[in-house]
Each structure stands twice: as structure tokens, then as C-alpha cells.
Symmetry: C2
DNA sequence: TTGACAGGTGACTAAATGGTCACCTATGGT
DNA sequence: ACCATAGGTGACCATTTAGTCACCTGTCAA
């Protein structure tokens, strides 16, 4: 049974968080290397510290980023669990087999082709 | 190398499309059963036909939904490829192993528990 | 203990987004 | 031919959201 309730649900925070390119870029940076500080992340973006902080808060509230304090610094880590849950919502075992095969084929072709 | 360019990129359409609960619900409906018409999908929502149509257009532009015309009807199908691409962006082989195990364990516990 | 540094809050403005409506086109049945 | 049905467009309004700034708190080192 599929239902559609109103109000702010848990997954809503995740999808809203992913909707902004700056936040996705922050996730990319953390995917590349974990445990960064705000200062570190800020230096890679053309935006004030406040903007970046706001984005990090949204990512943290959504559970996509988890943090740990160390002295006066705050370290940020990527949490992949919500991403996997999104995947499992619309991709079942059958589709997963098909899609992985398709993407693998695509990657193989592009390797030969160069584009 | 991770870069962060401006402008509207391809994946931007996908994430923006997923950011709305009504659109996610539409994907849920199509995940449950493919090949529905606008009329069909509209009947499950408390919204005017125009609202639903707008949402379907956004999903279609993002490539999350593909369509086929049949007479005066337009049939809608779920395309799982963009979802899988999101997954692969932030979940590599190592993390995938860990996360799947974690979620499987969680599902097992909740089965016994009932919650 | 004083100054520099890392992080945090609330208010504000400009732009993007969700939803509706009046109006239009095309297909199918009788 | 006719009318009901399925789908489509552009304009419009209310709400949400991204980004900045003035100002505040806590930590480290000399």
C-alpha cells in the first residue's frame, strides 16, 4: 500500500538537502576525503562562511553528514545510508540487475570511445 | 578532481525533481505499477489536473519518467537509471558493502521486533 | 589575559517554486 | 457530425529558499 501523508517527513529533509548544487558539491568533497572542517570546506567555494555553514547544517539535519567536535574545530563526515535508502525505494532486485548491466555497458563503450 | 561549475547541469534536473513530495509519490505509484495515464495518476492525488501535469513534466524532463503515446492517452513509465547514478556518485564498493550489511541487519531486527 | 581564530545565531532581501485558473488542441465513440 | 474525454499552454499569486550581514560564543597560544 502506497500512501501520501502531509507534513514534513524524514525523507523530505534528505531530498531537500540534495536539491542544491552547492550541497551536492560539499558531499562530493567529503566523498573524496572525510573529516574536514568548515574552514577547509569553505575555501573550496566562492561563498561566504555563513552560506557554507547554512548548507552544512541542512546536510547534517538530513543525516547526510555527521560531525564530531575536536577542540574548537568541527569535523564533517559523509553518511551514505540515506543515499542507499533512496536507491532501494525505487530500484528492486529485478531493476537493479538490468540497470547495473546497462550502466556497465555504457561505461565500457565510453572507455573505448574516449568520450 | 572534483569541480563545481555554475549553470543548470543535467543532474540538477533530477535532484530538483526529487525534491518535491508529490513527485516522489508519483514515482511510488509508477514503481508499484507502470504505464499509467495522467487521469489515473491524478485520481490518487488531492490536486488539480494541472498540478499533476506540471509535476509529471518535471519528472519527464529529468528523465525519471519516460512516456509513450497511445491514441489520446499518454502512458508513463518509471526510469530507474538516474536513481542508480545518484547511488554510484556517493557510494563506492567499500561503502556499499558496509551499508547493505547495516540495512539488512536493521531490517532483520525490525522483523523480529514488529516495529 | 589578551588577541587571533573557529564556529554559531537571527534578521533581512532577492530569486525560485508549487499550485490554480482561463483557455486551447486532438482523439474516440455513437 | 457531434460531444465527451484526455491532454496541453501561459499567466498569475503565495510560499519557500539561497545568500549576506551585524553581532555573539568558545578555544588555543604567546
Amino acid at each position: 500500500m502506497v500512501t501520501y501523508g502531509g507534513g514534513v517527513t524524514d525523507d523530505d529533509l534528505v531530498f531537500k538537502a540534495l536539491a542544491d548544487p552547492t550541497r551536492r558539491f560539499l558531499l562530493d568533497l567529503l566523498f573524496q576525503r572525510d573529516g574536514r572542517t568548515l574552514k577547509d570546506l569553505e575555501s573550496g567555494l566562492e561563498m561566504t562562511r555563513f552560506g557554507v555553514m547554512k548548507h552544512l547544517k541542512i546536510l547534517e539535519d538530513a543525516g547526510l553528514v555527521v560531525t564530531r567536535r575536536s577542540g574548537r574545530e568541527k569535523l564533517h563526515f559523509l553518511n551514505p545510508v540515506p543515499i542507499r535508502i533512496i536507491h532501494d525505494r525505487w530500484i528492486d532486485k529485478y531493476r537493479e540487475r538490468e540497470v547495473s548491466a546497462l550502466l556497465a555497458l555504457k561505461a565500457e563503450l565510453e572507455e573505448k570511445d574516449g568520450s
